[in-house]
Every structure is written in structure tokens, then in C-alpha cells.
């Protein structure tokens, strides 16, 4: 619980720093702090593989992409005034509305029943273990549990991912092609 509170405070502080930083490169670096906090949160939820993926993909590849996009858009011209006037009060109002909605939703009994207990009585990978072996005792690892679910129950989403990634490749090449010539 202490660890969760510490991580939550650091993550929220890093997020606030990210959106208030004047320099966009600093924003990106605060986002890295946020990603690391999330990775450790995944660890506390027994999701080691997700934690590793969070660092490899988000803090690694996606941050590289963000930094290249920032340098593409010229970091010298830092924004000095609000481009969209009246954006801030609207953003605060809508954000608060969303917060109230989520809070109300979490108080609804029907939603609570669907979400189950937190932390759950049996973890995701204990459930997979029980289904595969018929007994929760024979140990399988976290990565195995994800693999079994991903490649049996969720085969179609997995294959669709390759199409989404293919579209990302084509989109990136098409958009950048004009400048490459």
C-alpha cells in the first residue's frame, strides 16, 4: 500500500510536470518518469511481462518516436501563450466531469460486481493455470499465462494486431515519402 501511494504520487506529479513544462523535451522526459512508475505498478500487480514491455516499448521505442517528432517540429519555438483561448477552463471543467463520472460509476453495485474484488482473490495467471492444468498448484510463469491466453483465446485480436502494425508501416512511409524525395 505504501509503495502504491508513493508510485501514485510520483506518477501524478510527473504527469502534472509533463503538461506544465514549457520545454517540450522536458515534457517528454517527465513522461518517461511516468512510464517507469507505471512499470513498477505492473510489478506490484504480478505482471512482470507487462512491466518489461512497458519499459521496452513505451519508455524505449515510443519515447524515441516522441523525441524525433518534437525535434521535427522545431524545439526552439517554445509556445509562449495559449494558442487556443479559453481551452484551459474548458479542459478543467471536462476533466472534473469525467472524474465525477468515474467516481459515480465505481460506486454503482453492478459495476463493482463486474470488476470483482481488488486485489482479486485469484490472479489472472492462477486462473489460466487452473484452466490448463486443472489444478492451480502446477506452476506456470506469468509470461506463459499471457502466451496461452493470447494464442488460444485471443487469436483473432492477435492476428488483427499484425494488420494494424502493417497499416502503421504503410501510413508512416506514405506520409514521409513526399519529404524523402
Amino acid at each position: 500500500m505504501f509503495l502504491f501511494l508513493l508510485l501514485a504520487v510520483v506518477a501524478v506529479a510527473a504527469s502534472i510536470a509533463m503538461i506544465t513544462a514549457r520545454n517540450s523535451i522536458h515534457s517528454a522526459l517527465f513522461l518517461v518518469v511516468d512510464f517507469f512508475c507505471l512499470a513498477v505498478l505492473y510489478l506490484t500487480l504480478n505482471a512482470e511481462f507487462l512491466a518489461a514491455v512497458q519499459i521496452v516499448v513505451y519508455a524505449g521505442a515510443i519515447m524515441v518516436l516522441f523525441l524525433f517528432v518534437i525535434t521535427l517540429l522545431n524545439p526552439g519555438n517554445e509556445e509562449t501563450d495559449d494558442r487556443l483561448r479559453g481551452q484551459r477552463p474548458l479542459a478543467v471543467a471536462l476533466g472534473l466531469a469525467l472524474l465525477v463520472e468515474v467516481a459515480l460509476l465505481l460506486r454503482t453495485q453492478a459495476i463493482r460486481d463486474r470488476l470483482g474484488d481488488f486485489p482479486p482473490a485469484t490472479s489472472f495467471f492462477e486462473q489460466v493455470q487452473t484452466r490448463i492444468n486443472g489444478t492451480p498448484t502446477a506452476p506456470i510463469g506469468n509470461v506463459q499465462a499471457i502466451g496461452i491466453e493470447l494464442f488460444t483465446t485471443y487469436v483473432l485480436p492477435f492476428e488483427v494486431v499484425s494488420i494494424v502494425l502493417l497499416l502503421a508501416v504503410i501510413g508512416a512511409v506514405v506520409l514521409a515519402k513526399r519529404q524523402l524525395r
Partner: protein, 118 residues
């Protein structure tokens, strides 16, 4: 479960302590003031020709995008590899479909010259 990450915590603490020690020592023992050249990018190296704060070519973003896609592809190999034997032929075909579709993207990027720097 988290107890098994004790060594990682020790590593983080040790590396933070080392960083604090090195920075602290250099601020105590290092020379004060900004002499000639102390504000340069490379104090005793080459003189930068232009400011670093200029727009970078779109190639960097394109390359990062392609890297990201194939990075995610590799991520999916890990859970597949650890249960490869359990899945058998079914898993192999599944993965070949996945790789095949992404290989089309690779060929496309290659043909369009997106991987050439010049």
C-alpha cells in the same frame, strides 16, 4: 512476490548513491566560476557549426516509427516462444501468419526506400 526485487532495490539505491557521490565530490572539489569555454558544447573539442535547436529531417521520425512497429512484433515473440511446445503446429502457423503480414510491410518500406538513408 515483491520481496524478490530486493536486489533491484539495492542496485537502484547503490547507483543513486554513486551518482550523488560523484556529483557531490565534483561540486565540492571542482573549480568555481565559468572560465573561458566552460559554457561551450565541447569545452576542448570541435566547435559546433550550427545551433542544435533546429528542425530535424522527417527520416528520423520515419525510422523511429518503423522501429516501433518491429519492436512490438518482437515483443509478441516472447510469450509465443515460452509456450511454443504447448502450441505445436497451430502456434507455428499462427505466428507465420503474423510475421507474414508484417513482412509485407517490411517489403513495402524496403521497396519505397524508407530504409535508405541517402
Amino acid at each position: 512476490m515483491l520481496e524478490s526485487y530486493g536486489p533491484v532495490l539495492i542496485l537502484i539505491l547503490l547507483s543513486s548513491a554513486l551518482a550523488a557521490l560523484v556529483l557531490g565530490l565534483s561540486s565540492i572539489m571542482g573549480p568555481r566560476g565559468l572560465g573561458r569555454g566552460a559554457r561551450d558544447t565541447y569545452e576542448s573539442g570541435i566547435i559546433p557549426t550550427t545551433s542544435a535547436r533546429q528542425r530535424f529531417p522527417v527520416r528520423f521520425a520515419l525510422l523511429a516509427m518503423l522501429f516501433l512497429v518491429f519492436d512490438i512484433e518482437v515483443i509478441f515473440f516472447y510469450p509465443w516462444a515460452v509456450i511454443f511446445r504447448r502450441l505445436g503446429l497451430y502456434g507455428l502457423i499462427e505466428m507465420l501468419l503474423f510475421i507474414g503480414l508484417l513482412f509485407v510491410g517490411y517489403i513495402y518500406a524496403f521497396k519505397k526506400g524508407a530504409l535508405n538513408w541517402e
